[in-house]
């Protein structure tokens, strides 16, 4: 089944990397890394709906620790906030610092470095960060994401900055 869907998809199936912590217990931690093919993109709302349609939508204790994405777009400062506007869409993310970050003395968090780069007029190529609300047991996470999507006046989702790249001149 995996091969069948992979053949029908425009996603770079060779990009998928699945790692799981060693051990035999049922609830181990793991990561799934993936990338879109050139010119394509990852649609988070579609991803969420597809997940809900699986058994992950109910009756499981498995969960998600985080969803980290890399997005290309413009970063603008709006009323002191940094807003990432994803290219070609109406999607916006409010960029925030990791509240748990404890940078070593003399170093800055990725968020602080991004802010400093913007203040110097540097153009940002892409931002990597962890998307708000993608944390917890699957059924609860998927229910809450659905509520957010149905909100009449959606607010920009928070993205905790973990990395960014600048445009080289």
């Amino acid at each position: 089944m995996r091969d069948t869907i992979a053949r029908q998809s425009d996603v770079d199936k060779n990009s998928i990397k699945y790692d799981v912590a060693p051990g035999t217990e049922r609830y181990r931690h793991g990561t799934i890394a993936f990338a879109a093919t050139k010119g394509k993109s990852i649609d988070l709302e579609k991803l969420q709906k597809s997940l809900k349609a699986t058994r992950l939508g109910k009756g499981t204790r498995s969960g998600v620790n985080y969803l980290e994405i890399t997005a290309e777009g413009d970063v603008a400062v709006v009323k002191k906030d940094m807003i990432l506007k994803v290219s070609g869409t109406n999607q916006e993310y409010k960029l925030v610092d990791d509240p748990k970050a404890k940078p070593k003395e003399g170093t800055n968090t990725p968020y602080q470095r991004l802010r400093a780069a913007l203040d110097k007029g540097v153009t940002i190529a892409n931002v990597t960060g962890r998307v708000q609300a993608w944390n917890g047991v699957w059924p609860k996470v998927l229910r809450e994401l659905e509520k957010e999507n149905e909100a009449k006046e959606p607010t920009p989702r928070l993205l905790v900055v973990t990395e960014f790249e600048t445009v080289s001149k």
Binding site: A6, V11, Y18, G30, F34, K46, E68
Partner: protein, 37 residues
Amino acid sequence: MSRNTWSAALVLTLLAATSADAQVTKGVLGIKGAEMS
């Protein structure tokens, strides 16, 4: 779907979740309950 195959289903879901109208180019999903299928 058996419990042992949910992670494979997750990979398939990721493969299907694309569109041509945005620029989110990469992702990493950190999961708990990562059983090898």
